[in-house]
Symmetry: C3
Subunit: 476 residues, 3 copies
Amino acid sequence: MPAKLHLHPDRLFSSHGVERDIARRLYQQVADLPIVSPHGHTDPSWFALNQPFENPTELLIKPDHYVFRMLYSQGVSLEQLGLRRRDGVPIEQDPEKIWQIFAEHFPLFHGTPSSLWLNHTFVNTFGIDVKLNKQTASHYYQVINDALQTPDFLPRRLFERYNIEVIATTECATDDLAYHQQIRNSGWQGKVITAFRPDGVIDPEHEQFQSRLTKLSQITDLDCRNYDQYITALRQRRAFFKEMGATSTDHGHPTAQTADLTDAQARSLFDRIVNSGVSKTDVSAADAELFRAHMLVKMAEMSLDDGLVMQLHPGSFRNHNDQLFRVFGRDKGADIPQSIEYVKALKPLLDKFGNNKDLSLILFTLDETTYSRELAPLAGHYPCLKLGPAWWFHDSPEGMIRFRRQTTETAGFYNTVGFNDDTRAFLSIPARHNVARRMDAVYLAELVTRHMLDEDDAAVIARDLAYGLAKKAYQL
Amino acid sequence: MPAKLHLHPDRLFSSHGVERDIARRLYQQVADLPIVSPHGHTDPSWFALNQPFENPTELLIKPDHYVFRMLYSQGVSLEQLGLRRRDGVPIEQDPEKIWQIFAEHFPLFHGTPSSLWLNHTFVNTFGIDVKLNKQTASHYYQVINDALQTPDFLPRRLFERYNIEVIATTECATDDLAYHQQIRNSGWQGKVITAFRPDGVIDPEHEQFQSRLTKLSQITDLDCRNYDQYITALRQRRAFFKEMGATSTDHGHPTAQTADLTDAQARSLFDRIVNSGVSKTDVSAADAELFRAHMLVKMAEMSLDDGLVMQLHPGSFRNHNDQLFRVFGRDKGADIPQSIEYVKALKPLLDKFGNNKDLSLILFTLDETTYSRELAPLAGHYPCLKLGPAWWFHDSPEGMIRFRRQTTETAGFYNTVGFNDDTRAFLSIPARHNVARRMDAVYLAELVTRHMLDEDDAAVIARDLAYGLAKKAYQL
Amino acid sequence: MPAKLHLHPDRLFSSHGVERDIARRLYQQVADLPIVSPHGHTDPSWFALNQPFENPTELLIKPDHYVFRMLYSQGVSLEQLGLRRRDGVPIEQDPEKIWQIFAEHFPLFHGTPSSLWLNHTFVNTFGIDVKLNKQTASHYYQVINDALQTPDFLPRRLFERYNIEVIATTECATDDLAYHQQIRNSGWQGKVITAFRPDGVIDPEHEQFQSRLTKLSQITDLDCRNYDQYITALRQRRAFFKEMGATSTDHGHPTAQTADLTDAQARSLFDRIVNSGVSKTDVSAADAELFRAHMLVKMAEMSLDDGLVMQLHPGSFRNHNDQLFRVFGRDKGADIPQSIEYVKALKPLLDKFGNNKDLSLILFTLDETTYSRELAPLAGHYPCLKLGPAWWFHDSPEGMIRFRRQTTETAGFYNTVGFNDDTRAFLSIPARHNVARRMDAVYLAELVTRHMLDEDDAAVIARDLAYGLAKKAYQL
């Protein structure tokens, strides 16, 4: 008889009576609040077209870099997992065979958030009650595959079942937002908004920088190799994104460097960059860094005009595995965090706009050493700064508790912005918010049992962390 | 009916029976020990003049950068809080109105040490038993304001009520220590000593460096723009401070860099610095850093002569918010910690004096990553080094437990120096020592419940951490 | 009556019932598994000659840098502890007097792993049941000294009593492995293997680099100042070490820097280094770093040929205390960790071999900030990478729990390699493995009580962490 799978109602809580009881009570008050997902990477076409998801493998394995990076680290090739090669070399085509490999390797995920998210999905979305392993793999495949063909598992229906109040996708500055338009036109009530992600037209080291500038020129009818017209084009795109519901911009820079160049300096730098050739290899690293730094300040300036909230996600060494990048492209689990500093890097921006209450800049990090050393002290002082939640590798029980322990004493709760799921794995969204709500309850219960906070006050904070702060910080 | 405020006798302890009971027993043995405050920033004029504190706002809000930095981060202006502008632009004058703003924003401090310290003060010093909020704000103001006019709340009386055995203030090298002299002459028995803080005459980037050199020349009758006379002047000032009770020096440098220049090199460097102009902008950053580095070694050399204990508080980016600094001046909650390294930086000093048991150099940090990586290994080897307690942003329950967890296994307890309150908020002193004593009890109780330490041994250590080590390390 | 010493059966476990019970059950299943010690510094002559250990001081104090560094930090000189000076200046000769000093200072070790290890040894190896202090010092000395003269305390007998399945020592590349040969020839069944540590012939800054090259030339009959012959010599030595049981190499570099030079570049660099003079001071730091970096890639290349597992132990500033190094030599407790980075440093090696499943590179760190930021993300992606356990200063209860908390969520359990004792203190080996098994049980029990893992799955993992992973990772 296969081993049973179930989600314990007290999971993630302390096993100690008093603390567990308080966590449970706090959690119960937020467990059913609607999901506000102000930052993520779901595909708007799902909600626009509302077609059935293809099969369990396409839905749960191929888009989830947490999953295939772990399998890859233990010797499973990406070809075996059916990830498409750029060179067309044949890969595994049978989704059920890929599912079988995944199932056999499932114990690798013990102790990881992926195991939490996946089991949550298996139980709550698909009603499965046995553990995933070699023996149960085809049962799983069958159950999930069958479900996906039913109306209850269409994207819009899942959106509703998941009680999502609003979800933001992320599109690059040159996106036509056609799917968002289609969602609006459809009359469906689900609130799917976009977020403005201009990295591709701001980062001279992005592999498509030059081609995206060309595209930007085309769609704006401006000459985006002229700095002033380029700036105008960005303003126009922001306005268009805002019209399509965007309340935020997102910036995925290698560092947090900012710079405040004069228009003359910026023109000259931009000119050097865009006229230096067609490939990123012709731009010097220093020029690229300076331009990104300058553009963060320009984005802040535009935010003060159009009111879009700014998000900065720095510190990832993207595509660290050259060979994999050449064969499979971006986002294959080979982005590695690096040490980062914020105090000097943000100073030019803060010197210019730091005291302005109308700017809202949400900071994220992959370098947890910055929580107590830099980020909480900065956010606990500057009116324009807020702290985004534990991000990416740290979007996990331990990661979340470290975030609270290391930021709260200096920045409090109200300089943070609630939870972001930041995912392209749509089905994991309820699980991720669930983990966040539970871990905040755990942290608050600690404060209550240690008599640093009344339970009444904790309940107010729990609700703000689960719902209120995200709506406020992202103006939703 | 307003919500009740009380201090739970088990606050900060684990909620788990065995662990809580041990923590309680350990704590009870140290709860009433006298306060030894070997490093802080209280104002000696309070104890010299023994005048009533002006009002609740002047006493509890305006001198507390922890308080106004949090309010500022959430959009309250410093003008609203009555902080004086250098340009004379009018600010809020009504202390009760400021108190009201503070009260309304009090939930911002949930989960922060400020909330612990303030509630401790409200209950224990003023006997208040309702929570501070919008509704209770004027009740609070009245109660505190009335109390301050009574003899029991005069500075000396509070000093005695708080059971302070000795407190050290911090004065700059050019201070005449008139208030300390006045305390001595008064016949009052309270022990208030000074500490020698020469940053203003050692750091070429200090905004008053040149004017303080002038003052140093005047008070010593030496030419302090001549290196040798400057060194002599510093020796004289140290002797004067020592005469006035100082047992320690304190150095608030941007980094921990030390350097051992020859006299000729030092003379030439000093000459370049002091003759380069009147403003700090004329000194190169490298020269300034080298001079500070060299002077740390000179200070160590002088400590070997006069026996003063040396404290190094590095790693803060002071006055990070330029605009605020220009309008309001120093210490407005805009000092931000930075990444720092000690291993290479301290080597010149350690190469020269590291093996000398007669030198005592107490190291502090704002970069918690250095606890286990650098500071505990250094202090667990070099006879001259000791570790100061969790500092500033980390003077908090989580900060203290991180300090113990990350230093004890390598440096033990006896390479640490007990607690420093490091505060200018006089009324918070008992609360701060209370938190430290409780958190050390929590940590020791963990070791006892995990059978790594007997409770008898833990009790000895608890007493040393609360009282004995500070007296020994600071020669009090 | 002297205070009793005993080892509590639940030591290191949580005091909370449910969690403790699970930890206890998990631990009991691994407590008696054989010890696999794949990396350490015991002396093969002990097992080759099987002579009695000299006395308690020679056995337990003098080889243990954890012990004398702590005593030294509190003012006990190394001369008082009988550590031999290079200059022949007389030192303490009486082992019992040294033992007495150690006993009097034993409270310094409260809260440190040394106290755990030593008490474990006192009770379990020597059957002592009173605490070590001034009063019991000579009782201890007598009991241990007497025991050491009996057959039950001969090295081979201890090896068997400790249930050691296999132990690896570490020898430099020029070692003749005579003791290993002697062990083999003796017919004794204990499995003692070597590991190949080439730092002395790879690091141009090693104080014996030039003389070891000479020795390498002699024993291989090659000209090891010619790059190609030098490489051949290293291949030969690896083959010889492998023949003598080695399954791994070990690299103790200052940084994790790797570089992939062409043969021509490498020849030219090597030539510049070996022909630059006889002392390390003539080699530029940059050349030395580049050569070490290049040789890590060469070692990886050779590992792909001969199958030896590679270990990288970077980040220690060796011999930080110049004066002590000159007088007493290496390994005197004055090695201090530094900040380190892996992401850029390892890229050249990973670009070349990172996707090759046949390479196994085990990474260690002294900079715990790299656990969650760099090491877990790297090991959770690259097939060739695994994470070594918490190392050196972090081989401790808190250090181990930090390791698991900060690596598991991203890298899982199966990208780690079980426990290394890494010690030259032979008698501490059972204690160290005991601590590791207990702390893994503690961590797993947390996951079980928080319902993130079934107890059945946890039991499998506990066994793998205590035994299976070390055998697999080190091919034992």
